[in-house]
């Protein structure tokens, strides 16, 4: 494989002029990238606060009132309406007036004292995020409330004499790396990879198909330009653009969204470069199949969808059936996602992420091999 620097320079100059001259492209490239970063980061918040709540308090005693207060204080619920029975509460959820309803049975205070308190929480299952947040919130609040009540009982009963001194089984859990469960901390390291994959795969495919669609490929092929020179001349300027957006995204993540970066930035950069290479290679493979820019873009879109849905970016891969998991394995983001989160949030080093790094390196070699076999320096 021959590489002539003068030819490569001439080709790269052509690409650079073409990129810089296309204002709309630059605008879309940078603009859409940051729109993605902001839209995903702000919209990907999956904890629902201040859910409208209907309360059916059939007990009407200080304990039930204290429990409702505890729910409101948790910030997860806002009492919107007090109703008289369960069917009214269901009706309110049907009408989407409230997302959840709390039904407290009569004699709540007495049953709390006996340690066998019960209440009913109705949640709007048509809103999955509301259910998840509401379900976990109400559990935590109830546990906490129960503990306090037992403490009070202990205090009132004077030491060990109480018949109900045994506590219900309590779990104590500590959340590592993201103690406040801030969604952005979880989402941003992934979004950065997502943006890089989308840009690199799509633009690499488009860059290489563009000359074919414009007909300029025929004229370029009639010159002594070699395959490697042609491919590099497109991928090098594109890589510069991708790295600029990557750097900006990381900076925005840290300084704008306030997600602390715990790892080694240098290591993170080198692994991102490896990830970029695998994405560009994938784009190259797509470009050998597509004949028009539209076709290239449509194929690249599929990988964006895989990236969004199957790599673990928003939906955990562990819960997926095998087939979607295997499809997700085709997207390089699957591997970088783990690297990104581990380095970003856990602050681990290469000794922890080397497995995914090796897979990415192999992935890169494979896509480069396939595309070099398929990328023809002829028109047929």
């Amino acid at each position: 494989m021959q590489l002539n620097l003068q030819r490569l320079a001439a080709l790269m100059q052509k690409e650079t002029i073409q990129i810089l001259r296309d204002r709309r492209f630059i605008f879309l490239f940078l603009g859409l990238t940051f729109v993605q970063l902001f839209v995903y980061s702000y919209s990907a918040s999956r904890t629902v606060y201040h859910m409208p709540l209907a309360v059916v308090d059939q007990s009407r005693d200080p304990t039930s009132a204290a429990f409702v207060r505890a729910l409101v204080n948790s910030q997860y619920f806002n009492v919107k309406v007090y109703l008289s029975d369960e069917s009214q509460a269901k009706d309110a959820i049907d009408k989407s007036e409230v997302k959840a309803a709390l039904v407290i049975p009569p004699d709540f205070a007495a049953s709390v004292d006996q340690g066998s308190a019960n209440f009913l929480m109705l949640l709007d299952g048509s809103d999955q995020f509301a259910v998840q947040s509401g379900y976990s919130a109400v559990g935590l609040v109830a546990q906490d409330f129960g503990l306090q009540m037992s403490d009070q009982n202990l205090a009132l009963g004077g030491g060990m004499s109480s018949t109900n001194s045994s506590l219900p089984i309590t779990t104590s859990s500590q959340i590592l790396y993201n103690p406040d469960m801030n969604d952005k901390w979880f989402v941003i390291p992934g979004i950065i990879g997502m943006i890089l994959q989308t840009l690199a795969v799509e633009q690499a495919a488009i860059f290489l198909v563009r000359d074919r669609e414009w007909g300029t490929m025929e004229q370029i092929l009639a010159t002594p330009v070699r395959q490697l020179e042609l491919i590099l001349s497109k991928l090098i300027p594109l890589s510069v653009l991708c790295l600029l957006t990557f750097g900006t995204s990381v900076a925005l993540g840290i300084f704008w969204f306030g997600v602390p970066f715990h790892g080694n930035l240098f290591l993170y950069f080198w692994l991102a470069l490896l990830f970029l290479a695998s994405c560009l290679g994938l784009g190259l493979v797509i470009s050998t199949r597509a004949t028009t820019q539209f076709e290239a873009e449509a194929s690249a879109m599929i990988f964006m969808l895989f990236g969004l849905l199957l790599t673990g970016l928003f939906y955990p891969r562990t819960g997926m059936p095998l087939l979607p998991q295997l499809i997700g394995d085709i997207a390089p983001l699957t591997y970088f996602l783990r690297i990104s989160r581990d380095i970003y949030m856990k602050g681990v080093g290469l000794d922890f992420v080397w497995g995914d790094a090796v897979i990415l390196a192999l992935y890169t070699l494979i896509v480069i091999f396939i595309s070099s076999k398929r990328f023809k320096m002829r028109l047929d």
Partner: protein, 333 residues
């Protein structure tokens, strides 16, 4: 044996289109001597562009041989590309580069030294009449200027052979003439070998050698004068007042070899002009068809082309094999 600039032997190129095999070039052979201007002519779809692309190594070949300056089209494609200049049929220079950026780009990919670039690029721009447009985007040039820029770009590395695929398609007559004058100068000054595909018969006339291809086969391969000479008979031309009956009359007359229409005029090939001219005049008068100026004219490439293609068509339809080849072939060189 002298070395040919371009040599093609029994070239076959098949395409697979929707799972059916189409033969675009079918056993084609041709030789282009150094310094020649060789015109490859033929109707649309005859295989002209495919032939040129295979010679350049832009398409793979199914079988046969093809080489440029002794370099094999498939194995030495990069050597070929270093020594030739090429203009594709469609405008295919980067449209969003300016005239001068295009020149610099093609100089760069052809490894022209900075020193030579400084000298040649202004020369070529003024030669192509593009000096004052050097900062205009290539995509914004007129059709004729685009072709001239393509020519200038294809010459920046001083190739020994230029291959031009219908370079004046869609270009106005004035620009076409200018373009051919440029080619003429190049041939005279630099001894450039020019290989050109063209649908225009007046351009074929300007070539030193013409190959007429039809359905991927070579029908005639000779100098324009020789090709015109092989058309049998003499050509009478007139403008009848009543076109359709006149056409019918001529076609049925004794001594008429072929009738071609040319606008409102009729071109009648006869075996003996002195005998047929009075006969034709008498027959037309008898039918009360008036005619202006019935005269014998020189056979031009246009009439020769139509006549040759028609006969080729007829013989292919009759026995499925080209018959004319044996009749007129025999490389004159």
């Amino acid at each position: 044996m002298k070395q040919f600039a371009i040599s093609v032997t029994n070239l076959v190129k098949e395409f697979k289109v929707n799972k059916t095999l189409t033969t675009a070039v079918n056993g084609l052979s041709l030789q282009v001597a150094r310094g020649d201007t060789y015109g490859l002519i033929g109707p649309d779809g005859a295989g002209k562009t495919t032939t040129m692309r295979v010679i350049l190594g832009l398409l793979s070949r199914t079988s046969g041989e093809s080489s440029v300056l002794g370099f094999d089209s498939m194995n030495d494609m990069y050597q070929i590309r270093e020594h030739i200049g090429y203009i594709a049929q469609q405008f295919s220079l980067p449209p969003n580069l300016t005239v001068i950026e295009n020149m610099l780009f093609f100089a760069g990919v052809h490894s022209v030294s900075a020193e030579d670039q400084k000298k040649r690029i202004p020369e070529l721009l003024s030669f192509a009449g593009l000096t004052e447009f050097s900062s205009r985007l290539a995509g914004k040039l007129s059709g004729g200027m685009k072709k001239k820029l393509a020519l200038a770009c294809s010459l920046v590395h001083e190739p020994q052979v230029v291959m031009l695929d219908e370079p004046t398609l869609g270009v106005d007559p004035v620009s076409r003439r200018e373009f051919w004058n440029l080619l003429g100068n190049l041939r005279a000054e630099k001894g450039l070998t020019i290989f050109i595909c063209t649908p225009y018969m007046d351009e074929a006339e300007r070539c030193t050698h013409v190959g007429l291809i039809y359905q991927g086969r070579m029908i005639v391969d000779d100098s324009p004068a020789q090709i015109k000479a092989i058309i049998p008979g003499h050509l009478l031309e007139f403008t009848p007042s009543d076109f359709a009956p006149a056409l019918k009359l001529c076609a049925g007359m004794e001594g008429v070899l072929e009738v071609q229409t040319y606008g409102e005029r009729l071109h009648v090939f006869v075996d003996d002009a002195a005998r047929s001219k009075p006969q034709l005049e008498a027959a037309l008068t008898a039918q009360r068809i008036t005619y202006g100026d019935l005269r014998e004219i020189e056979v031009r490439m246009e009439e020769a082309f139509i006549s040759l293609i028609r006969r080729q068509k007829e013989s292919t339809e009759q026995n499925g094999l080209p018959a004319l080849k044996s009749e007129v072939s025999g490389d004159s060189r």
